[in-house]
């Protein structure tokens, strides 16, 4: 048996295994040191976890768009982060005029629903247009070709919105009904904004799950992702189904843009979609690409990892100013997952012939 092992020995595998072990050791040492140092109270950890969950639910909503599209077309819709930006950036103007007119203070629920409606429809239309212009003409082209047009689409969207709305940072108004409100549970104070975002995102995800599993269109989407040719033979309009997929992904991303505005009002500008886009892709891969519940859980996981990881692991290693490294930490998770477990935690849901 040992001989067999040595016959198959490859330096690449060996180094990857060493690298993997080193990563695990670093993580364990970091956690051990941090917990040993007892710098943070349990209340602080809980705060971090809830902030991470809220942030993660936003990643999850964006990740669903990646995962739906990858499941069907096997391509990374690189522009998806910018589709999210488009919704968030458009709705910020409506939100501000609502705040100015007092509507936001008097009817907060209706106001937020209207914002979500606007953001979701802008992102939805944009995603469908991108699909029509940049991806549909390239069906059947080599895999890297649509990826390059997707990169092109990403920059086109970013700089179109920069031209339309200007390069300045905008910010969402604070919603008076949620401002400074905390939910006290078991001695921990959790801001209402985070709870609202988390609950709303979970409701949306549940709705999506039922849509995919229970409706006819959802069935068509699953069929197309399984096998386009056979789906076509069964009388499914493949192009239309793909369009609907992009529309749903876009709408979820737009809604995520508004949730992000509730939870973290500042920093709305034309480049805001880039980093959440990559992180959401990480979430999608984390949960297993093409796997819808996976993307949801992956998003929440990533949000929590990212929130507690720098303090839990990096600080234990004696690295100063860990908050600067939050994004680098998330990208490192991305790199590690893609290297060691590209199929994700729950496994990919891609048909055999394609993956």
């Amino acid at each position: 048996m040992l001989k067999q092992y040595f016959d198959r020995f490859s330096w690449v595998d060996f180094f990857l295994r060493v690298f993997q072990l080193a990563a695990v050791v670093v993580i364990i040492v970091g956690i051990f040191n941090s917990i040993g140092a007892a710098k943070y109270t349990s209340g602080q950890w809980v705060t971090l976890v809830f902030a991470g969950l809220a942030q993660g639910s936003i990643y999850a909503l964006i990740a669903l768009g990646y995962t739906l599209v990858y499941g069907i077309l096997l391509m990374i819709n690189f522009a998806h982060g910018d589709v999210y930006m488009a919704g968030a950036f458009t709705a910020v103007f409506l939100a501000n005029s609502m705040a100015a007119s007092g509507f936001l203070a008097t009817h907060p629920v209706w106001a937020v629903l209207l914002l979500i409606l606007l953001a979701a429809s802008v992102s939805m239309v944009l995603n469908v247009v991108v699909e029509r212009v940049a991806y549909r003409p390239l069906r059947g082209a080599p895999r890297l070709v649509p990826l390059i047009t997707a990169i092109g689409a990403s920059f086109t969207i970013e700089y179109t919105f920069r031209g339309l709305y200007g390069a300045e940072f905008q910010s969402y108004p604070i919603i008076p009904a949620l401002d400074g409100q905390y939910w006290n549970v078991a001695g921990f104070a959790i801001p209402y904004t985070q709870i609202v975002v988390l609950v709303a995102a979970i409701l949306l995800m549940a709705a999506l799950f039922f849509f995919i599993e229970r409706t006819k269109i959802g069935k068509a989407m699953r069929a197309v992702s399984e096998d386009k040719e056979v789906a076509r033979l069964m009388g499914i309009d493949v192009d239309k189904t793909i369009m609907i997929t992009f529309a749903i992904g876009g709408a979820l991303a737009g809604a995520a843009g508004v949730f992000n505005g509730i939870f973290r009002p500042q920093g709305v500008f034309f480049f805001m979609g880039f980093i959440p886009g990559i992180k959401a892709f990480t979430a999608a891969v984390l949960g297993g690409i093409g796997n819808i519940p996976g993307a949801m859980v992956g998003g929440l996981f990533l949000g929590v990892f990212e929130a507690i990881g720098p303090n839990l692991i990096l600080e234990g290693l004696g690295i100063p100013a860990v908050n600067q490294l939050r994004d680098a930490f998330a990208f490192t998770i991305l790199v590690l997952i893609l290297i060691f477990r590209p199929q994700g935690i729950f496994g990919e849901r891609l048909s055999e012939t394609k993956a």
Binding site: F93, A141, I151, G163, I278, F331
Partner: protein, 573 residues
Amino acid sequence: MFNTLQEKFPLIQKFALLGGIVAIYLTAVGVVITFSLRNLIGTFVSLGHVFLVLGAVGAGVLIAQQFKDEDDASTYVAGFLTGAMSSVSLILFNIVVQLFVVQASEEGVFHLREMFVNFSPDSLAFLTFGQGFLFGNVLLFFLFGLMGLLGVSFIRLPEKIRRGWINGLIWVFSVGLFSENVSQVIRELFKYSGTSFNKILFTQKALNPVAAIVLFALTFAFGYMGIKTATSQKWAAMPVEKQKTGRIVITVMAVIFVAALPWLVGLFLSQALFIIGMYVMMGLGLNIVVGYAGLLDLGYVAFFAFGAYTMGILTTTGVLGRSDLNFWTALPFAMLVGVLWGVLLGFPVLRMRGDYLAIVTLGFGEIIRILALSNWLAPLGGGAQGVLHIPQPEFFGLSMNSPQAMYYLVVLGAVLAAFVTIRLRDSRLGRQWMAMREDEDVAEAMGINLVQTKLLAFSIGAAFSALAGSIFAARLGNIFPHSFNILISINALALIIVGGLGSIPGVVVGAIILIGLPEMLREFAEYRLLMYGILLIIMMIVKPDGFMPEARRRQEIKDEKDFLTEQAAKSEG
């Protein structure tokens, strides 16, 4: 005529809509108004006008192509109609601006202008040519109709006239666009003779109207007589030996031209030439990774950063300096560091499929930028302050502190990179890369060691990028983490795709178009990435082999087409 028009009216509508969308997009995004400051001819035709009518002209061209079998009169009428109808979107834009911006009340809670920054009275004035609201819009309508006609004329005019017409327009447009640079060249050329052509040719950084007409007439005649085709026919008819000497003469002239260039164009453009040269170097390196080996690397900037930081740390005498090497001794170290990181970052991604590779390399690039910015690594790389006071290279005691001197350095580096690339492409390794690009599994079955081949592609590409980075550091003197963002990777990727993946002349052409043009048109800065994005999409859909396709790729595409037509013929027969 009426019957044809009626019959084809849906087409006219469709193209008018398309043209209208292009026109309103360019206006709303602000391209039109930004470029209205750059005059082409006198003070009345600006680049903004060109962008304004782009949609209408394009619609005219499309309609003319659809009307191939119809008579001239109905085609021209259709062109006029299409152009005029595409102005409707802009007339609506004008009405919206008039109602909601110019006449908006101050007390309202929503100001359109706050959302759409270009829905401004300035845009309105520009679109109505300063002629008042009503008359201006009528003028716009008819101007667009004329532009539709212009579009048709590009297709429908008799061949000789058409050639002259297009030639003349292109020349007037380009000289007008680059009038600042052209006048600079003329000034340098006639520095000692004392004549001032510039005063005759240009007024206020644009072509003089009279000069424009003369230039147009000259270039029209040039195109009309077909001098270009005649010359190339003569060239083809020459005996082989003569062609050989001719080629040598052309090469020598090209070398002299490249060497003299920075002295002709002045300091500012020398800097632009330096940047073009730097991107040629990077493009050649990325071309090996993406074009030959088929590995889409979006974190290419990381190696550029490694080169720059190594150069900075090794040569600076400031706090961060580790040794006081000079530029030339630090250069090999910078490249070596690039190679090492190329292998190091290449190793984990060996087993990865194409699209994941792109994202992981993108992640690497961002991680490295964030780490360079962080306090954690500040003792090594200076954190947000960067590395300061990097000395300029010296060449036999001469400090190369002018852009011109650095231009020569960068040209030398680019020539070296091109030489290495050509030799590698034609070597065993180059063929291995291309085999791997076409199909990894088959290549492996043919006995190609994928690990070695991939790592060599990554590390050689990284070496070129590090070389460019170290020259960049020496030229700027100070480097900051902010300079090493994703946009550099995207620039390099866009230029090799526009030039043609795998093609070496393509890299040069791509760098001139994508890097040089925006440097010359400073207003472009804001829109260059918009342009890149649109170019990437259009190139991939319309011309996936780029402007200067590689010979082998051209053959592949041709073979595929032949195969397809053959198949089609078979299935029909």
